[in-house]
């Protein structure tokens, strides 16, 4: 399978009252980013689960997911090594009893990857996403949320190497979200973000708005929001720096302008 050519098409299902959703189709192409936004309970998780399991009108939402315009072959769904989608969940505290290195080695084994140095490369990439360094000998359980999430993203890029990556609330873990988005774009991944983060949402090419379990609107990034995006970027940079000062134990007083040098964005 040519991973980079994989295109995912989402076809509408219906809401709880049997009404069809308000979109014809949503296509996710390599290198594109899609944000899924909406209040808690609006159906964001159900939507990403539909994509992940390649729903064929057999989930509660009644949606259909196509791969390259066709119903996906069974092996896409059933053989993880052939599956074109990797979902990074919010909960990543599950596989308790292994060291980072052992975990990644086992993953490589399950994918029959024999290349040298992939473990080190994955850890190095993960360390680009998080401020707290991950070491090969660390226990998976002892990793912080940000570290685990960074490791899972790096794994999805280098080991799972899926063309489509779904990230469930990546911002909550305190990882460098700008850097994640940048790297995912470089690797030509199609990325779906479930997000409450204004910066992540505005950085995406498209934004799917959810309400009461259904898609109510799809907003294209046509450029009308660019000015706002720049402001959000500045505010976000400001908040990130402020967060670092607070983490460092400083007392925050007076004018905070020094925290946000114009035009410079710190993703920490």
């Amino acid at each position: 399978m040519d991973h980079q050519a994989t295109e995912i098409t989402l076809l509408p299902g219906s809401d709880k009252n049997g009404e069809t959703e308000h979109f014809d189709q949503i296509v996710i192409r390599p290198g594109e980013t899609l944000a899924i936004v909406g209040p808690t309970g609006s159906g964001k998780s159900a939507l990403i689960n539909d994509i992940e399991v390649f729903a064929q009108k057999d989930t509660v939402t009644g949606r259909t997911v196509l791969v390259n315009g066709r119903a996906p072959p069974e092996e896409y769904v059933r053989d993880p090594a052939k599956k074109p989608v990797a979902l990074i969940t919010q909960n990543t505290k599950c596989l308790a009893d292994l060291q980072v290195q052992e975990f990644l080695e086992m993953h490589l084994r399950s994918r029959k990857i024999e290349e040298e140095g992939v473990v080190e490369e994955t850890i190095a990439l993960a360390n680009e996403f998080t401020g707290e360094k991950i070491t090969p000998g660390a226990r998976m359980t002892s990793l912080s949320g940000g570290q685990t999430r960074s490791l899972m993203v790096a794994d999805a890029i280098l080991i799972s190497n899926t063309p489509v990556i779904i990230l469930d609330e990546v911002e909550n873990a305190g990882i460098f979200k700008d850097r994640v988005i940048e790297v995912l774009r470089t690797y030509q991944k199609a990325v779906v973000f479930v997000t409450h983060d204004p910066l992540v949402a505005l950085l995406c090419d498209r934004r799917v708005v959810m309400r009461n379990g259904t898609v109510v609107r799809v907003i294209e990034a046509t450029g009308v929001e660019l000015e706002a995006l720049e402001q959000v970027r500045a505010v976000d940079g400001f908040l990130c720096m402020l967060r670092e000062e607070i983490r460092a134990g400083k007392i925050i007083t007076g004018d905070l302008h020094h925290l946000s040098p114009p035009g410079e964005v710190n993703a920490a």
Partner: protein, 235 residues
């Protein structure tokens, strides 16, 4: 009548999987449900209320639940037959993992939770090794890499087993399980239904109620601290 034996450790999501099977196949087949547990179980009442199908439970009490299951399996098939069922679902309590409750002429399903830890599959040998299919639940709570590593562990125990990943509460991905259940042949000859694996050796004097500690006070198949050999003591 088809026979479905559902096993797995406690809280793996066995009942959630059973409910999905009834929900999806209940239209094509008439299911009956039997729960085997140790002292308390509510699943039978829950399922009867939700689906209006014949249900039953049996408490194993002092007996191992899987042992109890084997004792009553024959009667259970007769009961389900009288109820007009063409699919009997037997859900085990799933406890000590020394044996497995699967019988021939049935579909044996082990239910495992994806969040039970990487070593979990390695700790439940025959329950996985003798099953036809492994249903991994709560996969919505783990990331892709974790799913694959967990899967690798199951394959270490049973290289050929068919694996289905699901969030059992919503039933995602279970279409492959439904297909397998629907394709399971009916019991041919109830008289020839036997256990797939050899059960563990004997019951010892602790199980029949002796309180003394130390192997000297017990007979049957016993074990000492040093050395891993079992030996037989007594008559």
């Amino acid at each position: 009548m088809r026979l479905l034996v559902v096993a797995g450790p406690p809280s793996a999501g066995k009942t959630a999987v059973v409910k999905q099977v009834i929900r999806h196949l209940g239209g094509e087949m008439q299911p009956a449900y039997l729960k085997i547990d140790v002292v308390r179980a509510f699943e039978d009442e829950e399922i009867a209320r939700e689906f209006g199908i014949p249900t039953k439970k049996v408490y194993s009490g002092d007996l191992c639940p899987d042992h109890a299951g084997i004792m009553i399996m024959r009667e259970a098939m007769e009961w389900a037959g009288r109820e007009g069922a063409d699919l009997l679902i037997v859900e085990s309590a799933g406890l000590c993992l020394r044996c497995s409750p699967y019988v021939t002429q049935s579909l044996g399903i082990v239910v495992l939770s994806a969040i039970s830890g990487t070593h979990a599959p390695l700790k439940m040998g025959p329950m996985i090794a003798l099953a036809d299919m492994a249903v991994v639940t709560r996969t919505d709570l783990v990331s892709q890499a974790e799913k694959e590593v967990f899967r690798e562990r199951i394959r270490e125990v049973a290289p050929e087993i068919e694996i289905v990943e699901t969030n059992a509460v919503q039933g995602t991905g279970l279409r492959y399980l439904f297909r397998r259940v629907a394709g399971t042949p009916a019991i041919g000859d109830p008289d020839r239904v036997v256990l797939r694996g050899v059960p563990p050796l004997g019951v010892c004097t602790v199980c029949v109620g002796k309180k003394e500690i130390g192997w000297q006070h017990h007979f049957g198949v016993v074990r000492r601290l040093e050395g891993t050999d079992l030996f037989f003591r007594g008559e």
